[in-house]
């Protein structure tokens, strides 16, 4: 309990909240402490939007409904300039993606087809502070590339200005975005 309080106090940006926590601890009011700790949740996922593809939600960004989304996917072109397909071998994919390099697809991956699948079936994520961006996270049935030298089955796809593009994303990075 004490350690939870210390953590809570450190994380609380609001001194009043910290004082409330201190009082709840002093009164041994476990329910209140839990409630206050919940208020200062540090979960970076909090506040982002995770709409279901089938959901006809106005929060689903520009894809207000299934039909509009399908049309946008159908009309979107593959990006011309792909820095994520430089690698010609596994060794290059590891090397190029390490140390802050761009994530790399394996050379035999059909990127266009994979992106379309991601846009149709991926888990949707809309950043809470820029709802003009929509990401689609999709898991393939095999390793499709490397991100920071780590092999991955996952991609992060998006549509921007009528072009769809994507790159492999490792599960360390992915875990910031979605539960999987």
């Amino acid at each position: 309990m004490k350690s939870a309080f210390e953590k809570g106090r450190t994380l609380a940006k609001d001194e009043k909240l910290a004082l409330k926590l201190e009082k709840a601890i002093a009164e041994n009011d476990v329910a209140k402490v839990k409630s206050l700790l919940g208020e200062i949740s540090t979960d970076a996922k909090k506040g982002h939007t995770y709409p279901e593809f089938d959901e006809q939600s106005i929060s689903f960004n520009r894809f207000r409904d299934k039909k509009a989304h399908r049309t946008e996917i159908a009309n979107a072109k593959s990006g011309d300039y792909l820095k994520h397909k430089k690698a010609k071998t596994v060794e290059q994919a590891i090397k190029f993606s390490k140390n802050g390099g761009a994530a790399q697809y394996l050379p035999d991956v059909n990127i266009n087809a994979l992106e379309k699948l991601a846009l149709q079936k991926g888990t949707v994520f809309i950043p809470k502070n820029n709802k003009n961006i929509t990401y689609f996270f999709y898991k393939s049935n095999r390793i499709i590339g490397y991100d920071n030298g780590i092999p991955t089955e996952w991609i992060r796809a998006e549509i921007s200005s009528g072009f769809h593009h994507s790159h492999p994303i490792n599960t360390n990075r992915l875990s910031k975005y979605i539960n999987f």
Binding site: D14, I40, G47, A103, F125, S160, Y177
Partner: protein, 120 residues
């Protein structure tokens, strides 16, 4: 309730000004300058997740046969920086191995000034 340090207004999209030779393919840069705001890692993840990524902006000039590519590396990490690359376009594709210019900065202001310098 946690004190809200930033909201959507702090992340409005930047309008880049380029001359007629250049075309913005896509642009996800916002007005939020990571150099100005000193955030903890937790705060950076909380407020900016999905906004500082490998694919942020591409601007092309078919006449000059050049592409400007901007990303944040390492992707989504507080200790990252913008990387701007100007690359030659050959046979409809970019030569990613031979950038004409590479420019790294954490400053949004410096980045935008560089884009304006390269596209004027």
């Amino acid at each position: 309730m946690r004190t809200q340090l930033f909201n959507e207004k702090d992340f409005e999209q930047i309008t880049l000004t380029v001359n007629d030779d250049w075309k913005i393919i896509y642009n996800k840069l916002t007005i939020f300058d990571p150099e100005i705001h000193e955030l903890t890692e937790e705060e950076f993840d909380f407020y900016t997740l999905g906004l500082f990524t490998q694919n942020m902006t591409q601007i092309e000039s078919k006449n000059k046969k050049l592409l400007i590519d901007i990303g944040w590396y390492p992707d989504s990490e507080i200790n990252g920086e913008f990387l701007l690359q100007m690359l030659p376009i050959k046979d409809g594709d970019c030569d990613w191995f031979n950038p004409v210019i590479e420019f790294r900065t954490r400053s949004l202001k410096q980045l935008v000034l560089k884009v304006e310098e390269l596209t004027k």
